[in-house]
């Protein structure tokens, strides 16, 4: 394949007999001008690569000498693939003379990114998979990332698919297992940080956080809810409605229930895909009327006068 000759001296704007100091100074001046971190013009990066390639050759006396030997023939034409300097003496083919040339691409720059076919034709291929900053040949798995996935208790209980969008714009359709618990992680394989040097990406972990619920407290797979009852329901016993995640259920309040008594509703807690669901615990809270009608007051006064119950007697 025809490979166009590159005049590295012209690229750096130095004469062919320039000293090493002149070459370095020219490179630094052009690098400051065209470095992609400094110059945002679209052609700057290509120009900088060209400058870096030229400097890579001319700063090294051995490579410069090899290049100069080719240079003696370059005026034969821009296409140098058929010249004796290139095809014969410079190892353009697989049996060429410079397979052993080690090119030093020491750490960190843009410049060593991808040199031209011309360069590789003379000096051989360069290392691939270098990290952005300096460990040549360094490649590893990307780091795992973690973000928080907030769910309501109802969403966590029933599971299903949920679309999430991250701050960086990535969005995913996530499968939430029914009964997912607070703190549990959902793994999205391969969606973490990219691996340095072309390594495989890490995973994205979604850590589930359950939003506080206005009625239910969560304890593992069990739920707790307050159950307000009247004094006469607590005393005489009653069957009352209690809220559940799926609606309501009826629970029997045994006679003589004091505040704090816990009534269990089996299986009304959070589901467990691998086992039995948790329970719902309704805690009795006795509430008294703040305002009484005349008749109510009279009845309470009759009860007070009749009852011998004294909760402080045995304390």
């Amino acid at each position: 394949m025809a490979v166009a000759y590159k005049d590295y001296y012209e690229v750096l704007g130095v004469p062919r007999d320039a000293s090493a100091d002149d070459i370095r100074a020219a490179y630094r001046r052009l690098a400051r001008q065209y470095h992609p971190d400094v110059n945002k013009e679209p052609e700057a990066e290509d120009r900088f690569k060209e400058i870096s390639e030229a400097y890579e050759v001319l700063r090294d006396p051995e490579k410069r000498e090899q290049y100069d030997r080719l240079g003696a023939n370059w005026k034969a034409g821009q296409d140098v693939s058929g010249t004796s300097g290139f095809g014969g003496g410079f190892g353009g083919g697989p049996d060429g003379g410079f397979r052993d040339v080690r090119v030093d691409f020491g750490g960190g720059g843009f410049g060593g990114g991808d040199f031209s076919d011309f360069f590789e034709g003379i000096f051989g291929g360069r290392g691939r998979g270098r990290a952005s900053g300096g460990f040549e040949g360094f490649s590893s798995r990307g780091s795992d990332q973690e973000t928080t996935l907030e769910l309501s208790l109802e969403e966590a209980a029933r599971g299903g698919r949920r679309r999430i969008t991250l701050a960086d714009g990535r969005d995913y359709e996530v499968n939430i297992p029914p009964g997912v618990r607070d703190g549990q992680r959902i793994r999205l394989a391969g969606e973490g940080a990219r691996g340095p040097g072309g390594g495989p990406p890490g995973d994205l972990m979604l850590r589930v956080r359950l939003r506080p619920h206005p009625q239910f407290d969560v304890d593992g797979r069990d739920l707790e809810v307050e159950l307000p009852v009247t004094p006469w329901e607590a005393t005489l016993g009653a069957t009352v409605e209690v809220p559940t995640l799926n609606g309501t259920a009826r629970v029997r309040v045994p006679p003589g229930s004091s505040c704090g008594r816990r009534l269990r509703l089996r299986g009304e807690g959070l589901p467990d895909p691998g086992g039995s669901p948790g329970d719902l615990y309704a805690t009795v809270e006795i509430e008294v009327p703040k305002q009484l009608s005349d008749e109510e007051r009279e009845l309470w006064e009759r009860l007070a006068g009749t009852s011998s119950f004294d909760p402080r007697r045995n304390r």
Partner: protein, 104 residues
């Protein structure tokens, strides 16, 4: 397993080892660049700082500038800060410049 944290604002927060790996730099060099002010920690503690996930890009840029322009690290840090300032000023300037496609 190394984990990164995400701030409630959605910004990914990563530890110094992760920043170093993503920037392709040695963790000791990252610590040095942090001390020189290339990036500031965004969370964690003084002993185990956390950084925004774009910190790796800033650190890698400082390393590139040092290498490619023949600067020392202090010069590279100054260059990074000046470039950031230029970016800010150019953004502001664009807001005040009349656009050519607007009718006069």
């Amino acid at each position: 397993m190394a984990l990164t944290q995400v701030h409630t604002t959605g910004t990914v927060m990563v530890g110094i080892e992760v920043v170093a790996r993503e920037a392709g730099l040695h963790p000791d060099l990252v610590r040095r660049l942090v001390r020189m002010g290339v990036v500031d920690r965004s969370g964690g503690t003084r002993a185990t700082p956390l950084f925004r996930n774009d910190a790796a890009g800033e650190l890698a840029k400082a390393a590139r500038l040092r290498h490619d322009l023949g600067l020392n690290y202090a010069g590279a840090v100054l260059a990074c800060q000046l470039l950031a300032r230029i970016d800010q000023l150019e953004t502001r300037l664009r807001r005040y410049e009349p656009r050519n496609d607007r009718p006069r």
